[in-house]
Symmetry: C2
Subunit: 460 residues, 2 copies
């Protein structure tokens, strides 16, 4: 195998790799918080410096209306295909910060885990792929494929400026297929390639009752309470079978075929183990669907945050003037986020009790559901790279999360995406104590070295 | 009238009165917040200094398990009755502080209003009564009655240590009746005496789903969501008619007689004006009851605060591990808070969806409902004092709020309480921009001067 040289290079440079990743993790590039705008910019600059150091060319920081996009390329194999590598350098907020055991932006190694906000989602993953490029270039002077890199800073807020950027830079980004690692592998020691993603719609609903907070003794029993209004709306959005009640919501959701159901049931998955992992006695699955079916093939709706009234220690007897909640929906198949969000808003206004006024904000970006044919050569190249790295057959799987860019790349550039899972489902992404094992970080770089080789063998 | 001298004295000392009140308002004596414990203590010391300066005797600060009780007396009229004056020097939290137009603990005069946390509830009111005592003592050398004063620092947290204090100090507090001004008058220019109060029960409910915050893409559709659980519980606690669904909740609630209904309907009250004052298009009254009936004679339940998940700016796709809400109930007639709270907790546990665990905290203190016979001499003395001060007949009214001490004083000391309203319903107590008009502050002191005189004429 020609990939021995870059793999050896990676092994002898593993300490340097970890230190470079740590530097990236120290930057609190939280894209949703305006106060962190400069940190996001600083992170884009660090990424571009790494790309340059690793041997990529035409490294460019493109400003957008909010956070910059970084691009780079290495295109010197006229007979090999061109892969567009996508990743994001922005991260989720670190709240609730008091639940972290170590500082979220000071990467700490404990028990073989790198612990830091963004280490799994997505800094560690994207770093592994670009480090593998360096391994090829440093050890052999060349790369088996042509690679274009695009790393954005708005994934965690729905990529509002990425799509216009792709639209405006089709020539720059022209490629045969896309590679993304922004999703976990199926399980520890069970490598997998993901071929479907759910879409996303997100809204914030603010309910207003009286024009001022009120004393709940003097006005209790007469004054409309915006917390009760939100609770009533939220409760009515799902029925007893955990089905969403928004009119027309399931119109473009495909029925699972019995063949698909059978394939799902044969995956090495234990519902009891999943419940144990979450620490819950029961799951909230849609009636007639298994947990994997619910997570990968069924749409859903969750309140992601709620706030109103007095929430500090102790008792305060207040009827608040306002309360608000954040609600997201995960979409599948042919559900169109724009249509669904419009229907949802209209329905929520209808559910609002009289005496309360609602204001619904939905400018958080959205994401279409997406899928790739398992027979696609990039999927096959990824399965082989994983098998050779982990010494086990890799599975095909779906994914409940959303990567907005996937369906948009298909629409704008006409290319399919292969999604290689590199972290683990238990890595607490979006949560306190986000982690990535040192082992998976190392195997991620090795898998990438092999993927670049495997995909390079496919004639352009 | 003998009261001309103290009234004149008050007029010529009005600037000093206002400055003394302002000093008291500058102390952030928020009893529910452990971080403010020293401020609460400092406020007790300020109150005791005022009582001494105003001519009261045996001024004492009594430590308790939490915040101190201040007592004092002037008892040199062997043939007149003894009045126990009760008030509290603690205040509600100033949150949400961003909605205040002026600093909550820097009293500011705008448009004839004193604006500060606690000015209406209860510092301004209790100050008016003790200042009226000074007015009598300074201008005549004597007081027409015997007065005992008890001012506590835990009213806003349900007076947990006051009842044991009263139990242990029955001789010290022995009196013929109690006077409290911790409630608003019926309306601007409509003075009133209150003869009934609702009781209070308060709890905090914490719901737990998974053992960590989860990514709502990866786990949405399977993981139990504690926000949805709280919303569902809250929604089920009231039915479509705004009746509380806790089993047995209405067992000890008396039916309003047609005579009472008629009396309510004749009060100078406009539902439209009330809606306009709150700025709402509809009220949430219990079916078949008017707003006044709901506020004064019917029990109710309100969520006073809810918190869970991501509540900062922007979007975060999380299923939180925990969410919590604060729920209070207002009770009437023979509803026993202890029994009701027990029933409520048991019922809430039954409403909890599977996959979620609940923890319910209820050590916030509670309050029994209470009422006083309108024919009581103290009520009559108060009505006359208000009429002479405002130049208008004073009404009898109920009150939706709770003053825990009232039913306890009846139980322990065997005395009834007269409640003289001094501030206005629109004074935003418990809310941002709490206020008290300079006019009502002045009239409060005048009313008190006259009340001391009127009640002193009743033979002991």
């Amino acid at each position: 195998m020609t990939s021995i040289a870059p793999l050896d290079w990676l092994k002898s440079n593993s300490e340097e790799s970890l230190n470079e990743l740590k530097e990236l993790l120290r930057i609190p590039s939280v894209s949703t918080q305006p106060a962190r705008k400069k940190d996001v910019q600083r992170c884009a600059e660090s990424v571009s410096q790494l790309l340059t150091r690793f041997g990529l060319e035409k490294v460019t920081i493109h400003p957008t209306k909010l956070h910059p996009v970084v691009t780079a390329e290495w295109c010197h194999q006229p007979n090999a295909p061109t892969i567009l590598l996508y990743g994001h350098y922005d991260v989720q907020p670190e709240t609730p910060v008091e639940l972290w055991n170590t500082p979220p932006f000071e990467p700490t190694i404990i028990g073989g885990q790198i612990i830091a906000r963004g280490v799994s989602d997505n800094k560690g993953m994207i770093f592994a792929h670009i480090k593998a490029i360096q391994a090829w270039l440093e050890s052999t002077g060349s790369l088996p494929v042509n690679v274009k890199v695009i790393i954005e800073g708005e994934e965690e807020i729905g990529s509002p400026n990425l799509i216009p950027f792709v639209e405006a830079n089709q020539k720059l980004l022209e490629a045969d297929m896309c590679l993304i690692s922004d999703n976990p592998m199926f399980a520890k020691d069970t490598p997998s390639v993901c071929t479907s993603l759910r879409g996303l719609g997100y809204m914030e609903i603010e309910a207003t009752g009286a024009n001022s907070d009120l004393h709940s003794g003097q006005h209790g029993g007469t004054a409309p309470n915006p917390i009760h209004a939100l609770a009533s709306i939220l409760t009515q959005l799902k029925d007893q079978n955990n089905r969403i009640t928004i009119p027309g919501f399931y119109d473009n959701v495909a029925r699972l075929s019995s063949a698909q159901k059978k394939a799902f049931s044969q995956l090495p998955y234990s519902t009891d183990k999943y419940k144990e992992q979450l620490g819950v006695s029961d799951l909230w699955c849609e009636t007639d669907y298994s947990p994997l079916e619910c997570m990968w093939t069924r749409p859903t709706l969750d309140c992601n945050g709620i706030f109103g009234g007095y929430t500090d220690e102790g008792a305060k007897t207040v009827i608040p003037a306002k309360a608000s909640m954040k609600v997201s929906m995960r979409l599948v198949d042919d559900q169109d986020p724009v249509t669904i969000m419009k229907e949802a808003k209209s329905y929520i206004h209808k559910l609002c009790p009289s005496g309360i006024t609602l204001s619904i904000q939905d400018d958080f970006g959205y994401s279409n559901p997406a899928s790739t044919d398992p027979a696609h050569p990039a999927v096959q190249a990824a399965l082989k790279a994983l098998k050779d790295t982990f010494g086990k057959n890799a599975l095909l799987q779906g994914e409940g999360g959303s990567i907005p860019i996937v369906s948009e790349l298909k629409r704008i550039l006409g290319i399919d995406t292969v999604l290689i899972g590199m972290n683990l489902p238990e890595d607490k992404i979006h949560a306190p104590n986000e982690q990535l094992s040192l082992d998976n970080f190392q195997k991620g770089m090795e898998t990438s070295v092999r993927f670049w080789e495997n995909i390079g063998m496919i004639p352009d």
